[in-house]
Amino acid sequence: MNRRNSRILRGLARFFVRLWQMRRVLLLVVPYLLLLGWLFVGGGRMDVRPAELYGIPEEPAWESPDAEHWFGTTGNGADLFELSRLAMATSVSVAVVSVSFGIALALLLSMLFVFDPGERRFKLVRIVGQTGFLVPSMVVLVILTGGTGGSLGVAILGLILVIAFHLCPVLADWFQEGESGFDVVAGYVLGLSRREIVMNRILPKILRRLVGVFAGYVPVVVLVEMTLSFLGLTGDRLSCGAMIAYGQGLIIEAPWMSIYPGLMATFVVFVLALLGWRVSAALRTGPLPRLF
C-alpha cells in the first residue's frame, strides 16, 4: 500500500518537475491558447456581412457603449464587442494560413538552390530581393486584390507570395550561415554527402527558427489584412478594417462604431506582437525583413 502511494507521489513529483522544466514554453503556449480560444468561441456566426450590419434601418436600434454592451450596438442591435471579436478571429485565421503557406513556399524556393554546391548559388535570390524593395509589398497587394474586384482568396494568395518573396533571401542567409558551422565542416571531412549534411545538419536548425518567424509575422499580417479590408479589397467579409471603414460613414450618429473595433484590433495585435517577440527571442530567430 505504502509502495503504491509512493509510486503515485513519485509520478506526481516527476510531472511537476517536467512542468517546471517546461515553464518557459508553457508561459508562451498558454497565453496563445487562451487568446485563440477566446477569439474562436462562437465561430459559427462568422458568415456575417458588414454591409448588412452597418446598414441603417428606418428606426435604428443602436446603443452607445454601456455595462451591457461594452462596445455599443449596431443599427440593427447587434453587439459590437462580439462582432469585433469574430472579426479579429477572421483576421487571425487569414494571417495564420497566409504566414504558414508563405513560410512553406519560401522554404521550398530556397531549397531549390541549397543543394547546388556553387559558391554563388543564392546570387539570383539576392538580386531579385534587392529589386523587389522598389515595389512596396502593400502596392503589390493593393493592385492584386483591387484588380480582381476584391476577394479574400486573392488577398491570401498575395500575402503568401509577398511573405515568400521577402523570406527567401533570409533563408538563403541562414543556410549559408549554417554551412560555416564546425559540425558541418567536420561532416564534409568525414565524407558525408551534401544532401546528408543539408537535410540532417542545417535544415533542422532552420526549421526550429521558422517557428519564431511564424510568431513574428502573424501580428504584422493581421494588420495588413485589416488594412486591405479597410480599403474594401477583401470582399464583404467581417473584419475590423471593414467595420471601421463602414463606421466612418456614421461618425456623427454613432461614432463608437468606428472607434471600438479599432480598440479590439489594437489589443489583439499587441498581444500577438508581444508573444511573437518572446517566441522569436527564445528561438533566436534574429531580425526579420520588413514585409509591408
Binding site: 534587392q130 529589386t131 524593395f133 522598389l134 515595389v135 512596396p136 509589398s137 502593400m138 502596392v139 503589390v140 493593393v142 493592385i143 492584386l144 486584390t145 483591387g146 484588380g147 480582381t148 474586384g149 486573392v154 501580428p219 494588420l223 485589416m226 488594412t227 479597410f230 480599403l231 474594401g232 479589397l233 475590423c240 478594417g241 471601421i244 466612418q248 461618425i251 456623427i252 461614432p255 468606428s258 472607434i259 473595433p261 479599432g262 484590433a265 489594437t266 495585435v269 499587441f270 506582437a273 534574429g286 531580425p287 525583413p289 520588413r290 514585409l291 509591408f292
Partner: protein, 289 residues
C-alpha cells in the same frame, strides 16, 4: 567618385526598369487574367485622359502626378528624416546600452504605437477633431484660403506619425542589431586586450566598420514606409500619391496605377542609389572587398 556614381546609377536604372516591367505584368495579371478585364495594359486605348474622379480640375497625367507629389512631399519631409534621425541615433544608443537591453527599451514606445492600425488612428484624429474642435476632421474637408497654411502641415503630420512610429521602431532595432553583431567580432576582443578604451572600440572601430551595413538597412525601411503611406493617405482622405494608387485601382485606371507605383519606385530607387553611393564612398579599406 564619378565612376562609382555612374556605375550605381546604371544598376539603379536597370533595377527601376525591372520594377516597371514587374508592375506591368502584375497589373495585367490582376486585372485581365484574374479580374477578367478586356483592357490590356499594353494597349494605348486602355489609358485615355485623367478620369474626373482623380482630379477635380481637368489636368494631364503629368499635371496630376505633379499635384499629387506636391501634396505628398510634406509627409515625406516629416516622415523620412524623422525615421532616419530617430532610428540611427536611438539605435546607436541602444547598441551602446546593450547590457541593459537598450534597443528594446528605446524601441518599445514606437513598437507599441506600431500595433495601432494606422488607418484607425487617423480616423480617430478626424473624429476627435470634429467633436472637440468643431471643425471637419479629414484632410479633404477644409481648405485654407487666407493666411499661413498650417493646416497642410497638421494633416501631413497626422499621416506621417503612424508611418514614422513603425519605421523608427524597426530602424532602431535594425541599427542596434547590426552594431551588436559587429561588437561580438574577435578583433574587438583583441583591441580590448591591447588596452583600448571601450568608447574607442565602439565608436572608432565597430561603428566605423558597420557603417556600410547601417546604410544598407534603410532601403527596406523606406520601402515599408512607402507602403504604409498608401493606406494612411487614403484613410485620412489626403490627396497624395498613395491615395492616387488606391483610387486608381478602385477605378481600374491603368494610367493612375502605373503613375503612382512608378513614382514610388523612382523615389525608392533614388534613396537606394544615395545609400549605395554612400556605402561605396565610406567603405573602410579591406572590409567586404
Amino acid at each position: 567618385m564619378a565612376r562609382i556614381v555612374l556605375q550605381r546609377l546604371l544598376v539603379s536604372m536597370i533595377r527601376f526598369a525591372a520594377a516597371g516591367i514587374a508592375l506591368i505584368v502584375l497589373i495585367e495579371f490582376a486585372f485581365c487574367v484574374i479580374g477578367g478585364s478586356d483592357l490590356h495594359v499594353w494597349k494605348p486605348d486602355s489609358y485615355g485622359p485623367v478620369p474626373p474622379e482623380l482630379s477635380p480640375r481637368p489636368v494631364s497625367w503629368a499635371g496630376l502626378l505633379e499635384d499629387r507629389v506636391r501634396v505628398s512631399l510634406p509627409v515625406v519631409v516629416l516622415c523620412v528624416p524623422g525615421i532616419l534621425l530617430v532610428g540611427y541615433s536611438w539605435g546607436l544608443l541602444g547598441a551602446r546600452l546593450r547590457r541593459f537591453r537598450g534597443a528594446r527599451l528605446l524601441a518599445s514606445p514606437f513598437s507599441l504605437f506600431a500595433c495601432v492600425p494606422g488607418f484607425w488612428f487617423v480616423g480617430l484624429v478626424a473624429i476627435y477633431s470634429y467633436f472637440h474642435w468643431r471643425r471637419p476632421g479629414f484632410a479633404n474637408d477644409l481648405v485654407v484660403e487666407r493666411g499661413p497654411d498650417l493646416l497642410t502641415w497638421w494633416h501631413a503630420a497626422i499621416v506621417a506619425l503612424p508611418a514614422l512610429a513603425a519605421g523608427a521602431a524597426w530602424q532602431i532595432r535594425a541599427v542596434s542589431d547590426v552594431l551588436e553583431k559587429e561588437v561580438t567580432r574577435p578583433y574587438l576582443r583583441g583591441l580590448f586586450m591591447a588596452g583600448y578604451c571601450e568608447e574607442d572600440i565602439f565608436y572608432r572601430n565597430a561603428f566605423r566598420r558597420a557603417l556600410p551595413q547601417l546604410f544598407a538597412i534603410s532601403g527596406s525601411t523606406l520601402s515599408s514606409v512607402a507602403g504604409s503611406l498608401v493606406c494612411l493617405e487614403y484613410a485620412f482622405r489626403y490627396p497624395g500619391i498613395g491615395s492616387l494608387l488606391v483610387e486608381s485601382v478602385k477605378l481600374g485606371s491603368y494610367g493612375g496605377i502605373l503613375l503612382s507605383a512608378l513614382a514610388l519606385a523612382a523615389a525608392l530607387s533614388l534613396a537606394v542609389l544615395i545609400g549605395e553611393v554612400a556605402v561605396k564612398l565610406i567603405r573602410p579599406e579591406g572590409v567586404g572587398g
